[in-house]
């Protein structure tokens, strides 16, 4: 028995800010103080507050240390763990109160969250199956196999109202039913862990923090639809998640929770990983299955849908990681419990990866129906440096932006579609007044042009043309006709592309045109970029009043575009200027500004 537990985040975020070294130092310091048999060190998955990483939580006190450095570890051990004096200086200051520390659940970041899919992330040791079992793990599988018929399982999932978390929002119970009804001697279940949206890391965090929850759910799904083999398709760029999945699968096999005759029944099921090479299109279901079969990951027309003809032309059930992570909770707590969370047509919770111009970058899980304003202002802690919120992008390259005027829209599948965006898989990128919306649209188009597989012409050629027009506009060479052409082409691509990649690729253009057309017009008509982002349209100018004539800027300028006499105002030659901004950074008097 250990009297204290030190939980260190071993998710990708904290690992890249050095949590591994901190864990090693912690173990060394515990040894040095003879505490190694009293205090246990546990490497967990993501706590969510990635902006404050590396994170360390000490129990039983529940002390939440943030931005821990290797040098801090000695103090935490000698003061807190040895003498029982919490090192207040190193705590996440939101948890500090006059007479002690407050529980994490009362902190703004966590208060409005509801952790269902993330329930075990940052709580258990993902490499220890016993801890998962202690948290009621594999209980749902046991219940399903020994007490429920296949039909009852599907019924429960249907009644819960769960919809696919991979982006489409298709009712999960219905999908299970299709696979159940499909005729075939062999069926498969598969898990989509490709997660290709830039800035998204929900699925990675679930797999890093709680891999068994997905394994258990896949076994339940396999029982329900009549499969005996499963595949998890995960990108090779997620090495920590891959490693933890491998460990988890090994432990589940050792306990007989995967393999033959699970729980003494005649149900058998096993799982394998398939590593993807990181192509966005391989997240699309038909491309994903082609890739699992060992072929080039290209989509094909649907129907036939995977439920009837999937892997090796056999009926296959494909769900997203987060979709699966909800299943055991639905079985354990009942469909009614699950459907009591959320809105009328969007039940349960959704995990979002908060990124961009927001104070608390990280991972949040909110009940459906929470407003964007609550996420950004309360949970996310607002925009840094007192800047103004401009828009948020959901759904990544397939989604759209939500402007400030619509911040009170409840987040659910249908409301988001209505305002021209989409739920997507959970990337949520926040933009402030310094972001140019034309530039944002261009960023996503660059991504889709890169990621288009090239099989169908509308996507391969169309997105390229879209990007060319956008580039023309941001270069200050656009015309009003270009804006019309942009719109027309966008609809053509949407209507004629083979798969979801092309069908949704124009969305960022259409939604920025819808809400920020004035910015497009400013680029075209006034030849200015209101946010000052587009280089070709911005000019650096020296304020004659403020300039002291010190010549520092002209010495910094790499192209000799600045000239003047000492002690007299200098001037920038716009034709020579390459807009690198070095002069503005160098000026000690704030005399240079961007127009």
């Amino acid at each position: 028995m250990y009297r204290g537990h030190v939980l260190c985040c071993g998710g990708t975020g904290c690992t890249s800010s050095g949590s591994e070294a901190i864990i090693n130092e912690m173990e060394a310091q515990l040894k040095a103080n003879g505490l190694e048999n009293e205090i246990k060190v546990i490497k967990t998955g993501c706590f969510g507050l990635c902006a404050l990483g590396p994170i360390m939580v000490v129990y039983p006190e529940g002390a939440f240390y943030s931005r821990v450095k290797v040098e801090d570890v000695k103090e935490i051990v000698e003061e807190h763990l040895l003498k029982g004096r919490i090192v207040t200086r190193l705590l996440y200051q939101e948890t500090v109160e006059d007479d002690g520390i407050k529980s994490l659940n009362e902190v703004d970041f966590y208060k409005k969250q509801h952790r269902v899919a993330l329930r075990n992330c940052g709580v258990i040791d993902p490499e220890n199956i016993d801890e998962y079992i202690e948290a009621d793990g594999y209980k749902a599988l046991g219940k399903v196999l020994t007490e429920m018929t296949r039909e009852e399982v599907i019924d429960e999932v249907t009644k819960s109202g769960l919809r696919g978390r991979g982006g489409g929002g298709f009712p999960t119970g219905l999908k299970w039913k299709f696979a159940y009804n499909a005729k075939g001697d062999k069926k498969f279940v598969a898990c989509n862990a490709d997660e290709g949206d830039p800035g998204a890391f929900m699925d990675r965090s679930i797999l890093e923090g709680d891999p068994h929850s997905v394994i258990e759910a896949m076994a339940i799904a396999a029982y329900a639809v009549g499969a005996d083999q499963g595949y998890i398709y995960i990108r090779a760029e997620y090495p920590i998640a891959v490693k933890r999945l491998e460990i988890a699968i090994g432990q589940a096999r050792a306990y007989g929770l995967l393999g033959k005759n699970i729980f003494g029944t005649d149900f058998s099921f096993d799982l394998e990983l398939r590593l993807g090479a990181g192509a966005f299109v391989c997240g699309e279901e038909t491309a994903l299955m082609t890739s699992i079969e060992g072929k080039r990951g290209e989509p094909r027309p649907r129907p036939p849908f995977p439920a009837n003809q999937g892997l090796w032309a056999k009926p296959t059930l494909l769900n997203n990681v987060e979709t699966y992570a909800n299943i055991t909770q639905i079985i354990n707590n009942g469909a009614e419990w699950f459907s009591s969370i959320g809105t009328e047509k969007s039940k349960g919770t959704k995990v979002f990866a908060l990124g961009g111009k927001i104070n608390n970058t990280g991972l949040v899980e909110i009940p459906m129906g929470t407003t964007l304003r609550e996420i950004i202002e309360e949970i996310g802690g607002g925009i840094p440096d007192g800047k103004k919120f401009k828009a948020a992008q959901t759904g990544g390259p397939s989604g759209g932006c939500i402007p400030a005027a619509l911040m009170d829209t409840p987040i659910d599948y249908d409301s988001l579609i209505q305002i021209g965006s989409m739920m997507g898989s959970g990337g949520l990128i926040v933009m402030d007044e310094d972001n140019c919306m034309v530039d944002i649209a261009k960023f996503f188009l660059e991504f889709t042009v890169d990621e288009s597989c090239g099989k169908c012409a509308p996507c391969r050629i169309g997105t390229k043309r879209l990007l060319e027009i956008l580039t023309k506009i941001t270069d200050g060479k656009g015309t009003m006709e270009d804006i019309d052409r942009l719109e027309e082409l966008a609809y053509t691509i949407k209507n004629s592309s083979l798969c979801g990649l092309g069908q949704t690729a124009p969305n960022p253009v259409l939604s920025t045109l819808r809400y920020f057309r004035d910015e497009y017009i400013a680029h075209v008509k006034d030849k200015t970029c209101p946010a000052g982002v587009c280089k070709a349209l911005s000019r650096y100018v020296i304020n004659r009043e403020k300039c002291k004539g010190c010549s520092l800027c002209s010495r910094q300028c790499p192209v000799g575009a600045i000239s003047g006499k000492i002690k007299e105002p200098f001037v920038i030659d716009s034709d020579k200027c390459i807009k690198c901004g070095a002069c503005m950074e160098a000026c000690k008097f704030g005399a240079i500004y961007k127009k």
Binding site: M1, Y2, R3, H5, G62, G84, D130, E131, E134, D136
Partner: protein, 120 residues
Amino acid sequence: MKSLADLEAIRQRAATDVNIRREHDGTRIVVGMATCGIAAGARPVMTAFVEEIGKRNLSDVSVVQTGCIGMCRLEPIVEVMRPGEEKVTYVKMTPEKARRVVSEHIVNGNIVAEYTIGNA
């Protein structure tokens, strides 16, 4: 694993270990671990508590430390807080006394009066 009972057995085994990370209203044993406490032998006392609790699989008891309580001559000092009961302060503790406190007070609810501060 052949049955739900097997699963439950594993769950029970892991329970004492993970419970410490949950917010619970169980018994708290607070050991004074400032310099004075450590000098007077508080560490072996705390270790004895931890071992005894582990041995008995008591999942609802946590052992935490605190700083100097201000009565250094009575160290090692241990406070026991059971839900719904008055705090009991034990003084001049030893590992043997700690084990007795666990079996009589924590498990059976009988305060070991002779070790309490009133009798020091």
